[in-house]
């Protein structure tokens, strides 16, 4: 079973994130960066399938030069090799363009499954799996909390509000996973040492057969028109307990649609 995992480097979820004033793209340079959290689950799932059935796990990342740190992390968790699509021309690409570029690279790879995280914490589009499915003409199974792949078929349990649905597709297929699926492992020290000798192919848009005119900010079909920073935190609301504190808290939570 050969698996490609899409891994994205994103600004640390806990850090203060901002857009560049000029071109309104995400400021990726001045913040701490991490592997998109859900992608860790995607890598873990791919490694588990590989450990049970054999095959190879390939990491595919589109991103600036420093995204190599994130690729190395995936390799040190146990992935076998990686492809890094990195080119100034890609800067500012939106989800549609990104799926075009990643699709181009996927066309050159041999795989049974593409595993993606359900969304990236920076753009929060949650569309990459669907876009790639459309471009590649391959089935997509979303929201997997369990994956079983055997003999040309892949079956998932899709989490729903009241339970789960069992969904099946032929391979090659694209699967998006959610946090319930597993507990990602830490990279290991040996994995870190081994990662430096694992194959890492860096591709420019030219290498990948991506048409430069179709990617990047200028050609993006969607543009960020305006943005504002999130309002400062409001003072909390104090509930005085006069014997009915519990009820008041429940009412508050209900009014905010938390319960």
């Amino acid at each position: 079973m050969n698996i490609v995992v899409l891994v994205k480097q994103v600004p640390d979820t806990w850090a203060e994130r901002k857009l560049n004033e000029g071109d309104k793209t995400l400021d990726r340079a001045s913040v701490d960066v991490v592997m998109n959290e859900i992608d860790e689950y995607a890598v873990e799932e791919a490694l588990r399938i590989k450990e049970a059935q054999g095959g190879e796990v390939t990491i595919l990342t589109m991103g600036p030069e420093r995204a190599v740190e994130t690729i190395r992390k995936a390799l040190s968790m146990g992935a076998d090799k990686a492809v890094h699509l990195s080119d100034e021309a890609l800067k500012g690409s939106d989800a549609v363009q990104t799926s075009y570029a990643l699709g181009k690279v996927l066309e050159t790879l041999e795989y049974d499954l593409v595993i993606v995280g359900s969304e990236a914490t920076d753009s929060r589009m949650a569309t990459m799996g669907a876009l790639l499915s459309e471009r590649l003409g391959q089935p997509q199974l979303t929201g997997a909390r369990k994956v079983t792949a055997e003999g040309g078929t892949v079956t998932i349990e899709r989490q729903t509000d009241d339970g789960y649905a069992v969904v099946e597709a032929s391979t090659p297929a694209i699967i998006s996973v959610m946090e319930k699926i597993n507990e990602p492992r830490y990279p290991s020290f040996k994995g870190i040492m081994a990662a430096k000798s694992k194959p890492l192919t860096t591709l420019s848009v030219g290498d990948a057969g991506v048409d430069e005119g179709q990617v990047g900010l200028a050609a993006a079909p969607s543009q960020v028109v305006e943005f504002s920073n999130k309002p400062p935190r409001q003072a909390g609301q104090i509930v005085k307990d006069e014997g009915d504190g519990g009820t008041k808290i429940a009412e508050y939570l209900a009014s905010q649609k938390f319960v």
């Binding site: 992390k73 492992r185 830490y186 990279p187 290991s188 020290f189 040996k190 870190i192 040492m193 990662a195």
Partner: protein, 379 residues
Amino acid sequence: MSRWDTAERQALRQLARDLTAKEIAPHVAGWEREGQLPRSLHKTFANAGVLSVAFPEEVGGGGGDSIDAAIVAEEILLGGGSGGVVASLFTHGIAVPHIVQSGSRDLVDRYVRPTLAGDLIGALAVTEPGGGSDVAGLRTRAVRDGDAYVVTGAKTYITSGVRADFVTTAVRTGDDGYGGISLLVIDKGLPGFTVSPPLDKMGWRASDTAELSFDEVRVPAANLVGDEGAGFVLIMKQFQSERLAMATQAWATAQRCLDLVIPWLKDRETFGRPLSSRQVVRHKVAEMARQVWVAKTATRAAYEAWLDTGDAVTEVSMAKNTACAVCDHVVDEAVQLFGGLGYMRESEVERHYRDSRILRIGGGTDEIMNEVIAKRLGV
């Protein structure tokens, strides 16, 4: 690029940081109260290969060196772990290197591998109620009887001694003096071997510490580490890495206090202005930072000298005393700058203030370091 900062070591640093944030920091307060670490923590760190970074691959280790081990300890402390956590989680760092060095396949398979895999906990017992500094004067006796040694005596202040499955124990098999000392691996549960309840300490409270007593304990002769009489040399050699680890703990603890104090000074206002606006405070912090830098630089230089030359006894001893003195000063100033809060258990600096005090005592005291340095100077 500095050898402390290669791409692989940056990744190791990040791994140690992530492990600390998730597996240690949220639990430290609880472990400090309970007085010991859960065994599961050893397993988690073993699975990530972090427990054994500095051990050779042939014995189940990661194949790194002591710089890798130092990086892990630095990150645990800088990320909000405690000295007690480091001391107790890495006790094997002082308990099994002698076994590795002696080269016995059998002892490596029975003790080193399972320990590095996070399945066993080991301790090192040198210090006795009668004295710790004078290692050559130790009195616990082991008398050969057939295929066993019969051990009688006592050890005290033994880190991880309460939880330990086995104890690498310094015993006297021969005459008085250093030539009569050997190392024996003694299993928990052998008849005549008793372990005290945890000793009640000023600091390192997440680390269990015990007194051990041996009353005619029969230990298989196969558990002798190296040759009879080789114990003292093995102990002295391994003391170097223990002292370096103490120096690391000292400067990293001081750095952590600095990291905690700076935001506080910007935030805390007295007489209508932030503390950080007062020159007397600013200069105090600058001085703390200077000292931490000196401690870090000296410690790292000693590691490098030790790795490169194999003999850096003078540098190691100087680094330990330098880093410990800095740590003492910085934790004290940090408590002072936090005012009343610095005296409260809820402030982390309060813990560092208590934890730091052991560093000038354990692994060879300040005075013993100075004895070593003076001797090396030919004085």
